[in-house]
């Protein structure tokens, strides 16, 4: 039919690009992990037999999990304040959250290099306080990676949740109040349940984002706190072990897809408005 022809023609170039430059290359990368001469699972065996690589995987999962939980909590309460702030403040606060979000990952991670460095502002402060043992080595620790990651994702969480919270109509809240609900009852029984789908969407974004990040762990964790992202880069570009890199890539894809699918399932289950 004519419409089908028009539809495919118009979406054709974009479809072509995505298939040719994304679907095929990524499929090829994943397929390559099964092509080892020592059998289809040999590369995965090698990955999981290496204590170092296993530690990288667990560390990355741990960092992503902590980052997600902390970002969700901070983001939710901040978004609540923003969404309930007087209109003029509200737009200022939103702009102040958009600004870091639009400022790149590299710049925002670099900022923590200045803060946490040996001569950084934090250590200068500790020395000034006369703390025992200051300055402390804070860079290249798991903590520094986590702090920078939280810093990276809180604005995203705030903005996602402000949108969700603002979609809760005022009259619903007023109805609850008219029925005798206290502020905290409204918060716990109306606002929070209605925000759950948004919280899950935000959590998925943060988890997958931190699980696959590169620049932040590279700058703040270095070789000492290698994560899946930096390991992938190290395998591919330093060790030229493309099979190893492809294995890391495949595991990343599987974990990401599993999280996305699982969380959308859960989101559907937990959505109070699902039919």
């Amino acid at each position: 039919m004519l419409k089908r022809f028009a539809g495919w023609t118009l979406s054709g170039p974009a479809t072509f690009l995505v298939v040719l430059c994304l679907v095929l290359p990524v499929t090829a990368t994943i397929a390559a992990t099964f092509g080892s001469a020592k059998g289809p699972w040999a590369l995965y065996q090698a990955f999981f037999e290496s204590g170092f690589r296993q530690r990288v995987l667990w560390r990355t999962l741990e960092i992503a999990l902590i980052t997600t939980v902390v970002s969700v909590v901070i983001g939710f309460f901040t978004a609540y304040v923003v969404s309930r702030a007087p209109p003029r403040w509200r737009s200022v606060l939103i702009i102040l959250a958009v600004f870091p979000l639009l400022t790149g990952v590299v710049v925002r991670s670099f900022a923590w290099l200045i803060v946490l460095g040996r001569n950084g502002i934090a250590n200068n402060f500790f020395v000034w306080l006369g703390l025992e043992g200051a300055p402390y080595p804070m860079l290249y620790t798991q903590g520094s990676v986590i702090i920078a990651m939280i810093y990276l994702f809180v604005p995203l969480m705030v903005l996602t949740l402000v949108g969700v919270l603002e979609n809760i109509p005022d009259d619903v809240i007023e109805a609850a109040a008219s029925l005798g609900a206290t502020q905290s009852a409204i918060f716990r029984q109306i606002i929070f349940p209605l925000a759950v789908p948004g919280l899950i969407v935000g959590a998925v974004l943060v988890f997958t984002g931190s699980f696959t990040s590169y620049a932040t762990p590279q700058l703040l964790g270095g070789d000492r706190q290698m994560t899946m992202g930096t390991l992938l880069h190290q395998r591919a570009m330093v060790a030229f072990d493309w099979d190893g890199a492809a294995t890391v890539a495949a595991i990343m894809v599987v974990v990401t897809l599993a999280i996305v699918l699982a969380m959308t399932r859960i989101a559907r289950r937990l959505n109070p408005m699902a039919t």
């Binding site: 290359p25 606060l93 702009i95 590299v106 810093y151 590169y214 570009m237």
Partner: protein
């Protein structure tokens, strides 16, 4: 009016905002420092590190490359993304539902995996030149923003307006430009800006695709930081922040600040 917020919550939000903005202020301070090492608060104010950026050819070159790639990839993504978004909305019933999923794949697949795969298959495998591979990679990662933002605009566009124009004698292709496009203008501007910023800031895809003599600014920053701990990166960061501010001003002028609040 249920706008009363408890004081502890307000204090909490203030602390969060200090946390969000403090480090960026520190970067600005460090960039203005007169010292040869990174420090805050700045010791002696000077703009010498800003001048230094333009004395260093690596930065000069990568700034130009980044801007070129961002412009080219955003333009390309819009050129293929606008028709795709239009088709997805206009011909939804005759197109398979997986097609719209296809266009969000670039955000679903980890960027670093995409970067590595492009290196394997496109750059090395197919022998595509560095600059082209870089352009394709960036087009891919900004395409979802273009398709999604413009789709959202089109979703609220009443297609009977387009039919009205056609019934009045305007040919379909012309109608798209005179009637449809002007009504999704804000979506196109927003998509352009989001895509541009995304491309400028990209690390994970560029990481694998930059080659000898061709690099982007974020990759150059990473490389520089590995070797030197001087304030030049802080001043480059300030430049990038100025770009962000400029973008936000443009958005404010064209779409209104309420747009950012969405």
């Amino acid at each position: 009016m249920i706008r009363r917020l408890s004081p502890p919550l307000i204090v909490f939000a203030i602390l969060v905002y200090l946390f969000l903005l403090g480090p960026l202020v520190i970067v600005i301070g460090a960039a203005l420092s007169d010292t040869t090492y990174l420090t805050f608060p700045p010791q002696g104010l000077s703009l010498r590190w800003f001048e230094k950026i333009f004395e260093m050819s690596a930065f000069r070159r990568t700034i130009v490359t980044s801007l070129q790639i961002a412009f080219a990839s955003t333009t390309l993504a819009l050129l293929i993304g606008i028709p795709a978004a239009y088709a997805l909305n206009r011909y939804r019933i005759v197109l398979p539902s997986w097609l719209s999923t296809l266009f969000v794949l670039p955000v679903l697949v980890p960027e670093i995996v995409l970067g590595f795969s492009l290196l394997r298959s496109v750059q090395v495998g197919a022998g595509v030149p560095v600059l082209i591979a870089l352009l394709l990679g960036h087009t891919l990662i900004v395409l979802p923003y273009c398709v999604r933002v413009i789709s959202a605009s089109l979703a609220s566009f009443d297609f009977s307006i387009e039919e009205a124009a056609i019934s009045l004698g305007s040919p379909p292709a012309k109608t798209f430009f005179t009637i449809v496009l002007p009504n999704v203008r804000s979506g196109v501007i927003a998509a352009f800006i989001l895509a541009f910023i995304t491309s400028i800031n990209d690390v994970s895809v560029s990481l694998f695709l930059t080659g000898p003599g061709i690099s982007t600014l974020p990759i150059q920053i990473l490389a520089h930081v590995e070797q030197f701990f001087d304030p030049v990166v802080a001043s480059v960061s300030v430049l990038l922040m100025l770009l962000t501010v400029a973008v936000m001003v443009v958005v404010e002028r064209t779409l209104g600040l309420t747009f950012l609040a969405k």
